[in-house]
Amino acid sequence: MFIAISAVILVAIAIGLLRAFLGPTLYDRVLAANMSGTLTVLMVAVLGFMTGRPEFLDIALVYVLISFVSTIAVLRVCGTGCGASRDPEADSGEG
């Protein structure tokens, strides 16, 4: 059963990745990264139960805190300054 749950989470991560690749704006990518962070936290928690090693939860805790700070960092360091308001086409990444 845990396998099924982690498979679902993996699929969700994959979809999130797809959004991160597609963009089109930076915000979409940040959003996708943020969601992948959340999903990874859940994934690690589920995996901890699956393998019977609940100390994995420490890692999940680190993730929650760290990925929050890095999301904020994106927005505060680069959010309004560089390249955020760019034309969606130019930012699509497939240059």
Binding site: V8, V11, A12, D28, V30, L31, L39, P54, L57, R76
Partner: protein, 105 residues
Amino acid sequence: METVIYILSWIFLLGGAIFLLVGAIGILRFPDFYTRLHAVSVCDTMGAGLVLAGLMLQGGFSLVTVKLLLIFYFMIFTGPTAVHALAQAALQGKLKPVVDEHEQQ
């Protein structure tokens, strides 16, 4: 009683998984950034909450559950804050929402 908790935990876990999947599909299919924010919120709140609740039931009364609670507690603060900050930055960055043509008139 144990069986009830057990079944309940799996219902929570499955429910959470469904919400996660729905959120993921949403972030892929929704037309623009502002609508996608909603999809992520589904993951962050219901999805994560249910999965964590399911795990908590599995863990019983132990340090594990405390840690899961902590994770949940952090998530319900960080998720919305991050999304809020993101939306605000997008607004400041002059990202226009996609609006229905009828309303524009």
